[in-house]
């Protein structure tokens, strides 16, 4: 076990990287999820079809492949787009941190789309009708009535999505991001103890996941406080 101690600092640095990617991915996941849900609920057939393609592709392709495609393909695509806008552009590339965060967010966002869609449908129509009757505009209804209630319904499942985001970060060493798995890989030959090194990584992820579970449980209690009844 003591062989791990000199590596703890590197592990800590890798952990910070994981946290960073997870945070960015979380924000983007919510964006894609809301966009996708909106598209599917809008009744617009083209938007719905695009959203359906999005969820099918990203829920049906291995995360590892999505990561590799986005890392290697993003530069090609973005450069092409960039060149259309400004011919003098040389190359636009995405560093592994961002490529990884975007890839993870697209994958989990596809699941989040379904979760949000179901949650939006779960908001009582009576609430929406009452809001409109009171004179709230479409966007006011959305932000003050539908969105908060959607969150309450979506939270348990979204908590699972957040855990997925965190676990997917383990793949990022494949595209060169120097996060915690990368440290373990380098350390395992030098210390000759791959089991120990990977065990450290496992403990870290368990801790991170546990924190999320606790946070989500607290949040759930808070969001449902209006439903608690006196015994």
């Amino acid at each position: 076990m003591s062989v791990v101690i000199p590596w703890l600092e590197q592990f800590a640095k890798g952990a910070v990287v994981v946290l960073g990617v997870a945070l960015v991915a979380l924000v983007l996941t919510i964006v894609w999820g809301l966009l996708g849900a909106a598209a599917k609920l809008s009744g617009n057939r083209i938007a719905g079809a695009i959203a359906d393609a999005y969820t099918t592709v990203f829920r049906g392709t291995p995360e590892l492949l999505v990561l590799l495609i986005i890392y290697f393909g993003s530069a090609v695509t973005l450069t092409w787009i960039g060149k259309q806008l400004d011919p003098s552009v040389r190359f636009i590339n995405i560093p592994p941190f961002w490529a990884g965060a975007v890839a993870i967010s697209l994958i989990v966002g596809a699941y989040a789309t379904e979760t949000f869609r179901g949650a939006f449908l779960g908001v009582e129509r009576g609430q929406v009708e009452a809001a409109r009757a009171l004179g709230l505009s479409s966007s006011q209804t959305f932000f003050y009535v539908r969105l908060p209630q959607m969150w309450r319904l979506a939270l348990p499942t979204f908590g699972n999505h957040m855990i997925s985001i965190v676990k997917d970060t383990a793949l990022l060493s494949v595209i060169g991001l120097e996060e915690i798995m990368y440290v373990a890989e380098r350390g395992m030959t030098m210390t000759n103890k791959p089991f120990t090194m990977y065990a450290v990584v496992a403990v870290f992820y368990l801790a991170f996941v546990s924190l999320i579970i606790i946070a989500v449980a607290r949040l759930e209690k808070r969001l449902n406080r209006h439903l608690v009844r006196a015994r």
Partner: protein
């Protein structure tokens, strides 16, 4: 609702693209493996070091440019270069005809050789006295290589019936030959001697067979990789490397890691 979301998303994406790239000093983005001791590796203090790194930094200095490194697994380096993730590769990349079809190389700054390493106890006989391959002795043994390396191409051409196991990193290969999953590995002998064979870990292992320098597969040496169409930059890099050879800089860098010169002397 949908419209405002699309607008916001489009705004974010365009902000990403519109980031201006105006640099006072030329920046050379270099891709490397960063785990290939002693050619490119991260030292305990976190800094990128090694022969490849020294050469790349020195070339940049002579071109009045700064270097910016990206680390990636070896088999991803060439695809990433071609996709534009960086401009140069400094990762002991051998100059082979197969690679030259898709990219350009500088003049070689390092020799490229391959050799087998196996446990002493196994007494593997893979070559005969005149260094010809004994194909039948390759049957039933597992040989580890790094994916995408020239050793891979050599195997495919010379002994395609051998059971080859491809790994992402050399470190995984050492682990596997120590645990017994592999019967032999093929890698760079200079590197292996330094980090494995001369250490207590490698005591039970030895090189087997001759050093293989077949130009068809290992090329004329290792050079700096660059995309096609950058003739001007390539010329400047070549000039720098040749100058470094002439004034003894390559020799100095060699001796930092090896007791002998590792660049082509011609």
């Amino acid at each position: 609702m949908l419209k405002s979301f699309i607008a916001a998303a489009a705004l974010a994406v365009s902000a990403f693209i519109a980031a201006p790239v105006v640099q006072a000093q030329e920046v050379l983005k270099v891709g490397s493996e960063c785990t290939y001791f002693p050619f490119n590796f991260r030292d305990v203090d976190g800094k990128l070091k090694g022969y490849d790194i020294d050469v790349a930094d020195e070339v940049a200095k002579r071109l009045n440019a700064k270097t910016e490194y990206s680390c990636l697994k070896f088999d991803g380096l060439i695809p990433a270069l071609l996709a534009g993730q960086f401009d140069l590769i400094a990762a002991s990349l051998s100059i082979t005809p197969q690679r030259k079809e898709r990219m350009d190389f500088s003049v070689p700054y390092r020799l490229s050789i391959g050799q087998f390493v196996a446990p002493k106890a196994k007494k593997l006989q893979l070559f005969d006295a005149s260094n010809n391959v004994l194909k039948q002795n390759f049957k039933g043994i597992r040989i580890g290589l790094q994916r995408g390396t020239t050793y891979d191409s050599w195997f495919q051409a010379i002994v395609p019936e051998a059971q080859v196991v491809r790994y992402e990193t050399v470190e995984q290969m050492y682990l596997e030959i120590k645990s017994g999953r592999l019967d032999a590995i093929m890698t760079n002998p200079m590197k292996t001697y330094l980090e494995f064979l001369s250490k207590p870990d490698g005591a039970g292992f030895e090189v087997v067979g001759p050093q293989i320098t077949d130009e068809k597969y290992f090329g004329t040496g290792a050079g700096i990789g660059i995309r096609k169409g950058n003739e001007a930059l390539l010329k400047r890099i070549d000039t720098a490397i040749l100058a470094m050879k002439a004034d003894g800089t390559l020799d100095k860098f060699s001796k930092l890691y090896f007791p002998f010169a590792i660049y082509p002397i011609n």
